[in-house]
């Protein structure tokens, strides 16, 4: 009995050790993955994938567990120390992996430059698929990948399935580490050039072409590539030719974004001049948007569609530019419109609010009671940093002051979705993708349900056998 107690205590102690796999759970996990060092001379690990210092030699054939990847290095824990190892010195232990039960997202990508290789797993530590298949430049592929696999997408190309490296958006990623795929799922929008633009052959090589897009021209913007959080390149089509252009800072703008499909509008807090030309406040004033009036935004110079930018508007048959950075700050509606559900976001008041006729304007007699559901159309911060919101529903409309609301619905759209969603995806391809996704999910679901059913049947049979064996014994 003493031995049993000791054994019991020992097992309890073991229970507090963090564990990731056990005999009852056989399916290996995809992340993190295990790999062996294949470099016969061992591999020099570093403490930082961008600085070659604090190196430590890890011998050949060492088994490591990679928990994170960055800049062609995999992060692991060796001898109690966290370090990075070159993926080229590693080979993943599992032969291949495919997404299992992760969120399936269909996004289209365009392959450019040297093309992209297919790998057997979501890492360059995996082997390339048999035949070293490389997706040719100019090909469009559909990626179905998990949110867990940042930078890797699972695609099918010419009947072969595998993983491709999409991109990692890190500040220090050097040119030769970038991906070859460009997200075009939400592309195919139009832009308006604000000055002459000379296109480049690629976002990485940056060689000037002879394609010059004149100022004030509307062109098709086909793909975009985010080199790092501070740089973005777009692929423009002009006169049947394609070229790349880096989007510059707001003070040196070269393009404006088309807002037609995004239901962007402005409201004037004061009388606002409309200028004939972009970014030139001293040029000809061709009209005025009166205070409290709204108008549609056609182009916005800022990536955030109207916030602190120059906007090209249509107002009472006048088309021209207004400056939202100026004193007469105009408010973009972009953040308040849910493009996915095609409606303004709803909020519920947490107290009573007085309606004003304008920002810092006159109080009206109308009070919006607590727990009223409202749509928010505009937002404004005045010179005193007070927050104002233009709200409406079937019964009320007007400005209210202060942070007031708890959201009634989850904001399912994010900034990038709003910017990129232009609803110009091919309907047939989308239907086909949806069908493939449904079929795949159905087969996963089928397998799981069948396994649970079989396990249940085995359990029932076992229960009967136990009863039979033990009843015989009792007899």
């Amino acid at each position: 009995m003493k031995k049993t107690k000791l054994l019991l205590l020992f097992l309890l102690f073991l229970f507090i050790i963090p564990i990731y796999v056990n005999a009852d759970m056989a399916l290996p996990e995809i992340i993190p993955y295990k790999a062996r060092v294949i470099n016969k001379n061992g591999t020099e690990s570093v403490s930082n994938p961008y600085e070659q210092k604090d190196s430590m030699l890890i011998p050949y054939d060492t088994l490591v567990e990679i928990t994170f990847e960055e800049n062609e290095y995999g992060m692991t824990n060796y001898n109690g120390k966290s370090c990075y190892i070159k993926l080229s010195d590693l080979r993943a232990v599992s032969e291949e992996t495919e997404p299992v039960g992760e969120k399936v997202v269909s996004k289209k990508y365009y392959v450019w430059e040297e093309g992209a290789y297919l790998y057997k797993g979501p890492s360059k530590a995996y082997d390339k698929v048999d035949g070293n298949i490389q997706i040719k430049p100019g090909t469009t592929v559909t990626c179905k990948y998990s949110e867990n696999h940042v930078g890797w997408g699972y695609v099918e190309y010419n009947g072969v399935k595998g993983w491709v490296y999409i991109y990692q958006c890190y500040k220090y990623t050097p040119y030769n580490e970038v991906s070859h795929l460009v997200d075009i799922s939400e592309g195919n929008t139009k832009i308006y050039t604000l000055k002459d633009i000379t296109l480049e052959n690629s976002p990485t090589k940056r060689e000037k072409t002879n394609i010059v897009v004149p100022a004030f021209t509307e062109v098709q913007y086909k793909y975009e590539y985010m080199y790092n959080p501070h740089k973005k390149y777009i692929c423009i089509e002009y006169n049947g030719k394609e070229g790349w252009h880096e989007i510059e800072e707001i003070d040196n703008l070269s393009i404006a974004y088309n807002c037609k499909n995004k239901n962007i509008s402005l409201i004037a807090v004061k009388d606002v001049p409309i200028y004939e030309k972009f970014n030139e406040e001293n040029n000809n004033v061709i009209g005025t948007i009166l205070a409290k009036e709204e108008c549609d935004v056609i182009y916005a110079s800022n990536y955030y569609y109207g916030d602190e930018s120059w906007c090209y508007v249509h107002y009472n048959d006048i088309s021209g530019w207004v400056n939202t950075k100026g004193e007469d700050y105009l408010i973009s509606v972009r953040y308040n419109y849910d493009l996915i559900n095609d409606n303004y976001f709803e909020y519920t008041t947490d107290r009573d609010f007085i309606i004003y006729d304008n920002v810092n304007g006159i109080e009206t007699d109308v009070i919006i009671p607590k727990d009223t559901v409202l749509n928010k159309k505009y937002a404004y911060t005045d010179n005193n940093s007070s927050w104002w919101s233009y709200v409406f529903n079937d019964k009320y409309s007007g400005w209210i002051k202060g942070d007031f609301y708890k959201s009634s619905v989850e904001n399912t759209s994010n900034e990038n979705t709003l910017i990129e969603n232009t609803n110009e995806i091919n309907d047939e391809n989308l239907a086909e993708e949806k069908e493939n996704n449904i079929q795949r999910l159905f087969s996963i679901q089928n397998t799981l349900i069948i396994c649970i059913l079989v396990a249940s049947i085995i359990a029932i049979i076992s229960i009967f056998l136990i009863k039979k064996i033990n009843s015989k014994e009792n007899k």
Partner: protein, 118 residues
Amino acid sequence: MINLLPICMIICLTCTIIIEIVIAYILRMKNKKDFVNIILANCITNPLLVAISTYINVYYGLFARRISMIILEILAIIVEGYIYKKNLSFKKIKPYILSFILNFSSYFLGIIINHIIY
């Protein structure tokens, strides 16, 4: 990978049974009927545990799976403990404690086996 689930379930069950039989033998269990009861008890709990935890992993993610594993293991201990209480002739160790010992042995040794293999 999901197509390997049935094979994985068989491997899991086999490994679990072997480990628990060995531990039971170490604990001086001798009656053959008791060993049969242990095998059948594991046939009741183990396949269901693996299948359900895989289902949770697929649809709810890794964290949910880990939480569910703890709950499912506790349920397995209770169920097997009940079976041992009703059917085992081995009385040296209380049935629920025996169930606890056997399940955690298979759990812990499973970690070691997985680390060795992978």
